[in-house]
Amino acid sequence: MALAVEIQLQVAATSQNQTPLTDLIERAASGDTAAFEQIMIHSQHRVMAMTWRMLGNEADARDASQEVFLKVYRYLGRFDQNQDFFAWLYTITLNVCRDIGRQRSTNNDRFKPIIGDVGDKAYEIHADQADAEQVSILSQQREMIAKAMAMLPQKERAAIVLRDVEGLSTDEVARILNSSSTTVRSQISSARKKIKIYCDQYVKNKRRRTTDEL
């Protein structure tokens, strides 16, 4: 009982110490770098995950995240407090990823395969929760989805990441992508179909290879 009370007190103290995001944004917009540091800590996981999903590798995601935060700091003065901060953040993130993707396509360097160098790291976390077979299945699924995502056009990829991975509504996705809900629905539908076709083909090829090996 005493422990529960102590935890409640700690939670209350933590929530009191936490500055609201709007306050941090105001301070950061007026040049307070400490406040901006707090904003970065608050949003770094989202930004990094989004850039990684869009660009497909850690190095590019790191560079993109850095660019995103610099842009956020530069344009924070123009941010409307009535707007959703994370929607605004996603818009900037997607724009930065689009620029980097465009540079990459001009350099004839397509999306790198997401899995391979960093893919297995994610499963190390779950290794104690599941057996080796389960880890292997998840790893294969992950590789398959990553490759399927890499095949998608950038707009469809952005739409499906925001809708199915980040869990935003279609209207929110449309707002972030500066598009209509109908267009976003069409993009999402097309992306899901393409992923399914790719996955079906991937599984068939895998089975054939296993049969050949046997």
Binding site: Q44, F69, A146, R192
Partner: protein, 248 residues
């Protein structure tokens, strides 16, 4: 609803992206069609896999590195000169030179302007040759004209030396090229001919013109003009230059 139409709708149906009526239609079809139902299950599995499409766990040191680089870039951007400063730095060393050049151009322009204006307003002044040749012609003019011929003469002036020409026509002739000869014609006009024959006739606002020319070559040529206002008279002297001097 046909199977084809249902399969078209399935990607949106599993994500609850369809409107209510279409959702009901698809659900009704799925309850009776096993093939479409199987496809629906595959889409649901796929949605689950996409939802698990998470990045690897990034280390705190990596995030700290990103934040550090961002802060450093912000500091560098803050120290970076603004556009105004860049322009000021670019123009400051040259500013003195620009001012000096502008002053020089202004002074040169002013000099040219005033010289031109002065030349335009300069009264007729005979050079040495003219001075030599003007005297006999003036004398002729005086002799041929009587004092009664000048009713507008306000105030005849006695010249200190030389002869006086009076004219009622009040016309003087100016030239920008210099005077080569002066002759008295038609009794009351002075005609000044220039070498280039670009004689410019400008009516002067005078009623009486007194020209006092030195008989001697070395003495200065005095010219007087009486304006309509009897209180205002214009007098000027021309220093004749002898041919010998001009040769030297």
């Amino acid at each position: 609803m046909s199977c084809k139409h249902c399969k078209e709708m399935l990607p949106l149906f599993v994500g609850r992206d369809l409107d209510e009526s279409t959702t009901h239609s698809v659900a009704a079809h799925l309850s009776v069609c096993s093939e479409c139902s199987l496809s629906e299950n595959e889409y649901r599995e796929l949605m689950m896999m996409i939802g698990q499409f998470s990045p690897p766990a990034f280390s705190d040191s990596m995030f700290a590195g990103i934040r550090q680089r961002v802060q450093r870039d912000i500091e560098n951007a803050g120290n970076a000169p603004t556009l105004t400063q860049i322009l000021a730095d670019y123009f400051r060393p040259r500013f003195g030179w620009y001012v000096a050049a502008a002053l020089l151009v202004t002074i040169a322009g002013s000099a040219v302007f005033f010289t031109t204006v002065r030349n335009q307003n300069r009264p007729l002044i005979a050079d040495n040759g003219t001075a030599q040749s003007i005297a006999p012609h003036i004398g002729q003019s005086i002799e041929s004209q009587s004092p009664e011929a000048f009713p507008d003469a306000a105030r005849p002036v006695d010249p200190p030396q030389g002869k006086v020409v009076k004219t009622t026509a009040g016309r003087a002739y100016r030239s920008h090229r210099g005077v080569r000869s002066v002759t008295a014609i038609a009794g009351n006009q002075l005609a000044v001919k220039t070498e280039s024959k670009t004689t410019l006739a400008i009516p002067a606002a005078t009623n009486v013109a007194h020209i006092s020319a030195a008989a001697a070559v070395e003495s200065p040529l005095k010219m007087e003009m009486q304006t309509k206002d009897p209180n205002v008279r214009i007098i000027w002297f021309a220093h004749p230059v002898t041919k010998q001097n001009s040769r030297n």
